[in-house]
Amino acid sequence: MSASPTITPGVTSGPGSDFSDVTGSDAALRRFLHGLPGVDQVGAEARAAALGTRSIKTTAKEFAIDLAIRMVDLTTLEGADTAGKVRALAAKAMLPDPADQTCPSTAAVCVYPDLVAVAKQTLGESGVHVAAVATAFPSGRAALDIKLADTRDAVEAGADEIDMVIDRGAFLSGHYRQVYDEIVAVREACGSAHLKVIFETGELQTYDNVRRASWLAMMAGAHFIKTSTGKVQPAATLPVTLVMLEAVRDFREATGRMVGVKPAGGIRTSKDAIKYLVMVNEVAGPDWLDPDWFRFGASTLLNDLLMQRTKMTTGRYSGPDYFTLD
């Protein structure tokens, strides 16, 4: 059974997905985005915490751990990344547990654009995708043509998925149209590659902003909306992800089109990952319980998932010495 996510190039528009009347100007976008229902911080956080108390046992847990592994975008985004590091990571993505061939592979590896070719070479036709961060990641502070060139470069090198960052400065100063146009342009530069749009929710600060950014990105054609670069604290949190899951759920209600969600950064344990899956299941619905529609941007999470998996199959608790550090 392949864990490969399927890509449907140029996801089709559903009914009611014509937003031209609200995307024409900053003012029109502002009217629309600020007309979305507000998010009460305390209520949203209480709901996320309540979902976190679900107790997942036995078969459900086995299922959840394998699903979580299949949803991992195994990530390295360091200045010190080398071809060797990326090859090792790619090998781990394809075969996370060399001692157990039944262990599924991850969804993707996620690297900087200049290392896409290396990753692609290692992954070949394994079905594990290459995702590249682009658009002057992580700050997004570059001219648009540089961001587009960055994107094209990654796609030409074989990236299946592009993780772009929005211009938070533009967003926070109310230049919604600029953010929107950039996403549209990057999506075009992606060609057949899938586009994930990173908000850097730690910089947007409020859940109202997260909801608005979610709709802005979805209207501009994002395939996925993603919380964070991993370079800013706080990165992904349960309540931020809750608000984004509500947004994709409501967007499908409105347009018929599904958009994926990717929390990234700060998810380190199986217990955390399972809380996210519970939330996906109960908020967006089981349709999103699929690597096509939900991903974890993570690095250390994978080893904890593997340790839990081993515990479930052997009945013993494992330790970090038994799993590779890549």
Binding site: D40, Q41, V42, G43, E45, T206
Partner: protein, 286 residues
């Protein structure tokens, strides 16, 4: 020349800001302590009491919705006008109760001062009996007193100080009142009503019935649109018991009759007896 004949006052009820006679067309003779005729007072009927409740209910929203500062000024204004008409009140006290001139002066002094004392509470009580509550969570939480609604007040015998002492604490917090005036000495109550009518007390905030406790109190105690009852003026324990039992039908707030020194500075209890504590929660977040 002493040939001029007095123009006497007709003592009527005070309902909804107007001074109607009893709908029953009845009156009763009010005598002085020596048994001499003073005047005919309206003998209010159960129907008059019901009309008074309707008037009080109608006035409640507006009166309770006023600012505390405004209510303070209105009650203070009653004191001002009472002071300006003290000669008349002193005379009425002497006539009806037979008290000495100096005693009558004392009573009026105390009544005026008591109104002033209660007037000042209007915009302070919330600060004294309200609370900000430090709940264990990200919530703003505030408890404030609110008036219970329409309060029936069975006033004590003392025609002026007694009436002021039970009425002011009820209305200053925003309740409206239906008062059964002293059955024995009803005339000063109606004069006080005239004072209130000219002291910017909105119609219906205070309604004064003259008549018998035995006829009026049971209907008020059982009335489902009355929120509280002050039984101070009931000195018959059997009647007090039956009134409290009737009040249970809609869970009126009941102030039982109890010995009280009207000459001493009051506590807060006459006000808090007819207040509800409302607690409002709101999350604190961005």
């Amino acid at each position: 020349m002493s040939n001029r004949i007095d123009v006497r006052k007709t003592y009527k009820l005070y309902i909804g800001g107007a001074f109607p006679r009893s709908e029953s067309g009845r009156s009763y003779e009010v005598l002085d302590p020596k048994g001499r005729f003073l005047a005919n007072a309206s003998l209010a009927s159960r129907k008059d009491a019901r009309d008074a409740v309707v008037a009080a209910r109608k006035a409640f929203g507006g009166w309770s919705g006023r600012t505390s500062y405004n209510r303070a000024q209105v009650v203070y204004r009653i004191a001002e006008v009472l002071e300006s008409r003290r000669a008349q009140l002193e005379q009425e006290l002497r006539d009806s109760e037979g008290v000495s001139a100096s005693k009558a002066r004392d009573y009026v002094d105390l009544a005026v001062d008591r109104l002033v004392w209660y007037a000042g509470w209007a915009d302070k009580l919330t600060q004294v009996v309200g609370n900000a509550n430090p709940v264990a969570g990200p919530f703003f939480n505030l408890s404030t007193p609110e008036p219970s609604g329409v309060i029936a007040v069975i006033a004590p015998k003392g025609p002026l100080l007694g009436l002021v002492s039970v009425l002011a604490p009820v209305i200053v917090t925003g309740n409206t009142a239906v008062v059964v005036a002293s059955e024995e000495h009803p005339l000063p109550a109606i004069t006080l009503a005239e004072i209130m009518a000219t002291a910017d007390v909105p119609g219906g905030v205070v309604n004064i019935l003259t008549g018998t406790r035995a006829e009026l109190a049971p209907g008020l105690a059982a009335h489902m649109d009355v929120n509280g009852i002050d039984l101070t003026g009931i000195d018959d324990p059997a009647l007090a018991l039956s009134l409290e039992q009737a009040a249970a039908d809609n869970l009126k707030r009941v102030r039982r009759p109890a010995a009280e020194d009207l000459l001493a500075t009051p506590s807060l209890s006459r006000m808090t007896a007819f207040l509800e504590t409302k607690t409002v929660w709101h999350p604190i977040g961005v």
